[in-house]
Each structure stands twice: as structure tokens, then as C-alpha cells.
Symmetry: C2
Subunit: 430 residues, 2 copies
């Protein structure tokens, strides 16, 4: 599974390499059409870990994603097994039966050079950049809520006998290199001094110092970090931020599942919510004459509400109709008393996912402000004072979510409380 | 991993087969001494799944355990992969560095016929039979508490980087056949009609019917069943009842870990507590003239207290001194505020194990009274009315533990409350 540098079958692809390789795959060749020499090949990757090529032929186009043997953002000095492409492919194949066209179609996986040939999503844009540009995508909250509900339910013990899950747990437990990144960059480094960390300095210095002294915050993050490693609830995407979602007005797609493993569902829920909250906090940094972003901010909060509502609705619908697993076997609950007990259990289960979602959302926000990898929502605010103000909002929201989790009973509680916290923090008042 | 019946390397061993095989293993041969023809070989297995041979030579003895390709108690009509011997061997090798002589020394594992050659524990007896005979073993509670604490801590994310745990999770996730037995026989069948179930009839009929109608009980069991499959806290033995513990007055050993996988620590804690409670409930059935078992019953409850106290003490000691893992990284908690937060977290963690322990103990008790596999503590009470009275006590205790878990804050709460519940139930008053 690991990349052996001496293995001469691995080659970093370039445009010609892509062309030569795809020309040898009949089903890809016919999809592209025309002569391979005429195919347009562009490298467009801007992520941390991979090369991404868009290939245009006479009749169609495909996307090629190759995992590099190092972290692209850091260069060859930070080696990283390209075997993560294997887990990306495995995730797509595992969830495909449940999510239909919410993921790109995979045409081919090439294990020798860790490359996936898949549907070219056009004219889709990354949700993150769409929100920075001030756009709205009316389906995205609902689509993502349903998506996570379906993956979480169908890969859990509620849906099928545990044997299938245990096989998949074993398979994805090998994705250690990427889980290691999450453990270090999300649950550890942000809460201590580390050469990999950075933040807007000097503006945030006292805030970051206070964060790293806040024992309640660190304990909450540590508890979630422990849960991240010990809760095999379902197959999770593992990196479901707004840069892993491609959108148009009519369509929503989930991409880049290379961090996938069996973990807590709240981690995926929290990734989406945390990144929408980051976008919400960053919007004042992107306002312009005649574009104050106030309406967009309201819309973002509404999307968080729509997201959680859609998740709950779909998850419960599946639990009522598709519970063929070993957990909560339907055969044990045939009577009216049983139905009441089962409904209580379902509510308790969703409450626990809700709590996890808020906590993981907070962890995701914090690591993007004081850790290694930041987000364009904030990085593109060139005025450091303005950026720091947005970042203070985000940190204040995250601290509130982590340390006062129990005060939030519904998503409405969250959406009403957080703007007040953020406003005080943005002005430096708390 | 699975047994292929066409694989002609697998042979069910007999005395001669054992002799011939061991004579070819130099280190075993020299341990036994003398001529192989003179070795005494006796089959002594009385478990559900295996053959067990004791081999006596001129200079020493060994024990040979072979996994059969079917459930021994049911015969060849219930096939069962003998690959479980592989997991038994893997468990012993994994925990050996942490538990010293609390497990038998393993001399050899033979994968072709799924047989382990190990230390012959003599003059040890199974704790279950020792308690039926009315004996006390002053170390057993403390030894088991420390044993579970050490295995639970050192195989968890508290002790070491998660990569080692993920590798082991993958390895033990293949032990599906035995986890399936637990899922069916502990968490499912007891709570519904099943041809595999039996109970003392007609005496317990109304009690069993009430149990299977009790939605709160079923919901509590289902919640624990879900946790059993989704919580990779640590490597657990998976079947740690009083028939998996061998004792003398001076020594305690844990055997038969073939159900091992990564699961909730409370499952092992609960197995021990549940089986001591079963013994406590059964003692009136073994009383005789001049041997009313009252002192022994008091001693059994004291052992439960000593067990939980030793577990807590050892687990916390290790957490304070050996925390080199990814969960709760010590480096994040350097200051005095941090120490307070960490202590709260440790208390919360132990509280949660305590709650799990009570719930799993209850599940273990119930399945032994209304499910497939019963225990000698109760089965050996030949008077059905007396046996039913003991079983009613046990069921009442289990229902109390499952449905009123939150009312028990300390082990003393448990040990004070349960005898009253049991006494009322034994007389049929509740």
C-alpha cells in the first residue's frame, strides 16, 4: 500500500504522460473522442496533496487526479504516501450505490501511479470560491444534509449486518497517513506552539495565546480527538469542507474523499457547518461598494439550518424504512411501547450527532485560523486588520461551541446565538 | 483465514495426533521430556468450541487447545471457522508485554490445524467451579481489575500513537465469526423468541415474557449492542466470564480470548461483574447443611468492589504516567488549570466506563438465563423451583442495572441496592 520510491512504475504525470496513458484506456479514449494528439490537457490542481488534470477531447472531457508522494503545499520535504488515492477510489465505490450523482462518476483507477480518471465536473465551481465571490446555491445545504445522512446510515450498523462494516473498517484502517494529518493538524498542533502553525500576527497574538491557555477548550478538543479515533460509527469523508464540494445552481457534488475512514459522523457534519461558519465570518472581508454581503450572510445561516434539517429528516426516514442491520434490530421492537422507546432512542442518537457536529465544527474552524492549512475565505482578505477581525469572530464562535455545547439544544439556538458572539468578538469586545 | 473443508492440512486432533505433532517441536519436546510414547494425553475440554488436551511428560506438561470447525455444544450442524484460534493467539501475543503472568505462556501456534500449545495451568481451577464449590480466591477481584486496566490502557489511544491501534483493529476486525456469536446470543436472541433460547420453564415463563415486552430493557440492550460494534476503545477479551479465569489461592490467569476484537472496555468489565453477580444469585442453590453460603455471598460482593477499585486505580495510574498516545496528549496540558481539566476528563472517562460496565453486566446475566448458553452456577441447581428463584434474582438485578443505570453513581450504590432487589425477586415479590 505504501509508495516505494524505488518502484519504477510510479511516475509523476505531465500533460504528455496523461495523454499517452488515457489513449491506452478504450472506454476513456472513446469518451474523449478524436485523436489523442488533439486532446487538451491542463493541470489545474490547487489543493495540498495532488495533481489535477482536465482533459478535453473532441467529444467529451475527463478529470485526472494523481496523488503525489509528498504534500504539495510543503514540497518533497514532507513525504506522503500516494496510496491515499486508493482510499479515495474505495470511498467513491463504497458510497456510489447510496448517493447517485452526488459524487463524480469514476471511469478508471490506476494503482501503479495512484491516479483516478473521473467525470469532469463542469461548469461546477468549488463552493468555497463561490461563496467568496458572493454567490448562492440554493440546494447545497439540503443536498449535503441528505448526502451525509445516506452515507452515514448505509455504512452503519443500522443498515446492514456488521460483517460488511468490519471488512470496510479493516480496509480503511490502512489510511493511516491521512488520519495522522488530521490528528496532528486538527486536534493537536492548534492547541500548542508548533513550527507548522501560523496566524495573523500581531493582531491575533493575544487571542491565540489565550486559546492555548484555555484548559476547557483544550479538554473539549481532546475529547473530540479521542472520539475521532475510537468511534467507528460510519464511513466518513474525513475532509468535507467547502473546498470538497462542487456546485452549480442546480447541482451539488462531493469530491476529494482521500481522508476517508470509519469514524464519527459528526466529523463530516461539523466540517460542513464549520466551513459555512468560516465563510459567514469572512464575508465582511469581501464586502464592497453596493455589496455588503448582509443578505448572503443571512442566507449562509439559513443553509446551516436547512442542512441539519435535511440530515435529520433523511436519516430518520432511512432508519424507519431501511433498518436491516444488527444495531437496533427492528424485530426487537414490534409493539406500540417499543415504537415509543425506539423513537426516544432515535432522538437521543440525533442529539448526540448534533453535539458532535458543533464540537467538530469548532475544531475545524480553529485549525484554519491558528494551524497549518488556512482557508481562502480568510486568506484572501488582504487587509490584516479586517482579516483579524473576521478571524476573531470565528475563534469566538468556535470557543462558544466547544465550551458551551450543552447550551445549544437546537440548530436555531446556534443560529440565534452565534451572530451576537461574533459581533462582539469582531470588534475586539470579547 | 477461513477454514476450507477441502484443505487436507486440517485434522481434528486425537491423543496420538497430539503426541506425534508435539514430538516434532523441539522446544515442546524438551519441555515435556522423556519419550513421546510415554507422554500422557487427556482430552479435558468442556467449553463450547474447542478440544483441550493436557499432555504430561517425564519433566513437564503442556496444554493443547484446538479450535474445531463447528460449535462443539451443537455439533457439526453449526459450523464455525476454526480461525478463531488465530485471534486467540494474536490476543495473547498482543497483551503479553502488559500483563506478565496473568495469561498462560504460549509455546507454539500451529495455523494449519488451528492449535495452540501453551502452559498447563496446574493446580488451577476455573473460577466458576471454584465459586460453585464454595471457595474464595482473595486476589481475584484485584487481579482482574488490574488486568483489564492494563490491557485497556496499553491498547488504547491513550498509550501509543494510533497507527498501532489501527493496524490491530484491522487484524481483529477479521474475527467476525465470533463477534457474530456475541451479537446474536447476547444482544438479539434473548430479547425475542428464538429456537436457540431456553429457560427454566414453566417457573420463569411470565418473567421471560415480561422481559421480552419491556421496551426500556430492549432499548437499553440495543444501545449497548450498538456500542459493542462501534466503539474501538481498546482490545477486549470479549468473553471474560468466570469460566475464562483460572485461579488458585495465590494466582489468577485469564484464558480463552478467542472472542477478542477492538471494542468497548465496559464489555470486559461487565463480563466479570455480571458473572460474579450470577454466582452471587446462584449461591442459595448450592447451600447445604452447615454451609449457608452467606459469608461467601458477602465476599463475592466485596470482590466486585475490589475489582472496580483496582481497575480505576491502575487505569488512572497508567494515564498519569504512561500517556504517550494521541488521545489527550500530555503536551497539551502542562499548566495547573490544565491538570484540573485533565482530572475532570479522567473522572468523566471512568464514569462512562462504570456505566458501560453495569449495562454490559446486565446483558451478560440475561443471556445466561433466557438465551442459548447457560452457566453451571445455575444449571447445577437441580431443583427447578430453587433454580428459578435464583434466576429471578439475577433477572431482577439485570433489569435494574439496565433501566436505572443513572441511579448508580458508585460501586457502593450498586452493592447496597442489588441485594434488596434480588431478595424481593427471589421470593417472587417483584
Amino acid at each position: 500500500m505504501s509508495h516505494d520510491p524505488a518502484d519504477d512504475t510510479y511516475r509523476i504525470l505531465d500533460a504528455n504522460g496523461v495523454r499517452t496513458w488515457l489513449a491506452r484506456l478504450p472506454h476513456v479514449r472513446s469518451r474523449l473522442g478524436g485523436s489523442a494528439d488533439d486532446w487538451g490537457v491542463r493541470e489545474v490542481g490547487d489543493g495540498n496533496l495532488n495533481l489535477v488534470f482536465l482533459v478535453d477531447g473532441a467529444e467529451g472531457s475527463v478529470c485526472v487526479k494523481q496523488a503525489l508522494p509528498y504534500v504539495r503545499a510543503a514540497g518533497p520535504s514532507w513525504p506522503m504516501t500516494p496510496a491515499r488515492a486508493h482510499f479515495e477510489n474505495a470511498y467513491y465505490r463504497t458510497v456510489a450505490p447510496y448517493v447517485g450523482r452526488r459524487i463524480p462518476e469514476v471511469y478508471h483507477y490506476e494503482p501503479t501511479h495512484y491516479s483516478i480518471v473521473m467525470e469532469n465536473l463542469a461548469p461546477h465551481t468549488l463552493l468555497r470560491y463561490g461563496l467568496i465571490a458572493g454567490n448562492r446555491y440554493e440546494r447545497v445545504g439540503r443536498d449535503l444534509g441528505e448526502y451525509i445522512a445516506r452515507v452515514a446510515f448505509f455504512t452503519s450498523d443500522l443498515a446492514a449486518p456488521f460483517e460488511r462494516k468490519f471488512d470496510d473498517i479493516a480496509r480503511f484502517a490502512a489510511n493511516k497517513a491521512l488520519v495522522r494529518i488530521s490528528v496532528d493538524l486538527i486536534f493537536t498542533d492548534p492547541y500548542r506552539e508548533s513550527p507548522r502553525n501560523r496566524h495573523t500576527t500581531p493582531q491575533l497574538d493575544p487571542w491565540v495565546a489565550a486559546l492555548r491557555r484555555n484548559a476547557q477548550v483544550k479538554a473539549a478538543a481532546a475529547r473530540l480527538g479521542q472520539k475521532f479515533l475510537g468511534d467507528t460509527q460510519a464511513l466518513i469523508h474525513g475532509d468535507l469542507h467547502s473546498g470538497s464540494i462542487m456546485v452549480t445552481a442546480e447541482d451539488t457534488r462531493v469530491i476529494d474523499p482521500e481522508f476517508a475512514f470509519y469514524g464519527p459522523v459528526g466529523f463530516d457534519l461539523g466540517a460542513f457547518v464549520g466551513n459555512l461558519l468560516l465563510s459567514w465570518c469572512a464575508q465582511p472581508g469581501h464586502a464592497a461598494q453596493g455589496d455588503d454581503r448582509a443578505g448572503l450572510r443571512k442566507w449562509i445561516l439559513d443553509q446551516i439550518g436547512a442542512f441539519w434539517s435535511a440530515f435529520q429528516h433523511e436519516f430518520l426516514r432511512l432508519w424507519r424504512n431501511e433498518a436491516h442491520g444488527d444495531a437496533w434490530p427492528a424485530a426487537l421492537f414490534p409493539g406500540p411501547d417499543d415504537a415509543t422507546a425506539l423513537q426516544s432512542a432515535q432522538k437521543a442518537y440525533l442529539d448526540s450527532l448534533f453535539t458532535d457536529m458543533l464540537g467538530f465544527a469548532a475544531c475545524k474552524m480553529i485549525r484554519r485560523i491558528v494551524g497549518f492549512a488556512h482557508v481562502a475565505d480568510l486568506e484572501r482578505i488582504s487587509n490584516a486588520h479586517l482579516r483579524a477581525s473576521c478571524e476573531r469572530s470565528a475563534l469566538a464562535i468556535a470557543v462558544e461551541l466547544l465550551t458551551r455545547t450543552a447550551t445549544f439544544h437546537t440548530i436555531e439556538d446556534v443560529l440565534e446565538t452565534l451572530p451576537r458572539i461574533a459581533q462582539l468578538a469582531a470588534g475586539g469586545e470579547i
